[in-house]
Symmetry: C2
Subunit: 172 residues, 2 copies
């Protein structure tokens, strides 16, 4: 089965992201707005049990932290994805790093750039239009992060939450 690990920001940020995703992101219906911590990886049941124990330990080692979003940015020219840029605080960087060492496969394709996707797979003209407009706008979000989610992917491409890991609250 394919698993992934993500943070869901609070409702106001998800609502704002969805206002754009509805029009500009074909993944809109597959998963709520999120910060990807670990992209899709395969695991069987035994491996999963092992990783869940690790994730509980990681959650218990992590203190709640605050994230800030101040602008939209883009991965162009690699992809024309447009996203809310999440300022890379150390706690978030450390959290993501721990899911790519030890018992975890390092399946990073790129250096970690924390973000919440709001548009992707647009044709070039639409991308230019949307990004040109959004980069002029002011976005100011602050959010308290105290948990992450382990998800698995269904045949239709959508993601279902398997388990939540709350910082400092997991029973190992």
């Amino acid at each position: 089965m394919n698993y992934g690990i993500a943070i869901f920001p609070s409702k106001p940020i998800q609502d704002q992201a969805n206002a754009y995703r509805k029009r500009y992101d074909p993944h809109y219906a597959l998963i709520p707005p999120h910060i990807t911590l670990k992209r899709s990886f395969e695991a069987n049941d035994d491996k999963l049990d092992e990783l869940i124990t690790e994730l509980k330990t990681i959650a218990n080692e992590t203190d709640p932290f605050t994230i800030h979003i101040n602008k939209v940015s883009t991965f162009t020219p690699v992809t024309n994805t447009i996203y809310f840029k999440v300022e890379p605080v150390q706690a978030l960087i450390d959290l993501q790093a721990k899911m790519h060492v030890g018992k975890f496969e390092d399946n990073n394709e790129h250096p970690f750039v924390p973000h919440i996707t709001i548009a992707q797979d647009l044709v070039h003209d639409e991308y230019s239009d949307v990004f040109g407009r959004l980069k002029m706008e002011s976005f100011q979000f602050e959010d308290a992060i105290d948990r992450f989610q382990l998800l698995y992917q269904l045949d239709n491409g959508s993601w279902t939450v398997y388990e939540t890991f709350v910082f400092g609250k997991e029973q190992v």
Copy 2:
């Protein structure tokens, strides 16, 4: 904020349900296939904290149990919803009941009929056609249930998981 409580069945059942939901359920993109334990209710942050403590206790009091699905059924004439009927084992009935007493508002609109919706809001002719076809088919699913999920609703009507409660594993 609006919250709800649900069980996500395992991937094979979700995939089968989605094969129908994609065509016959306008809620397809709003939430993965699920068994509703408690329908939408409002709670502020203080109330939510109180309920989460209760939900952990309930999860710890519950042993994993097995559900069986043997057929599709319908709520007609109340609504023309078509669903996988989940045989009502006592553990599931007890679990649902505990979320409607004590600190929980009893917001049941109907007696508890455990089910996984696969079609709803169809026009009458399509309902008759779909149900006529599905009631002739054989469905045999068995699933081990060891957790439930607390979700909240976004402005677009979709649901995001807030927290998972695993039977016997919660730290109160």
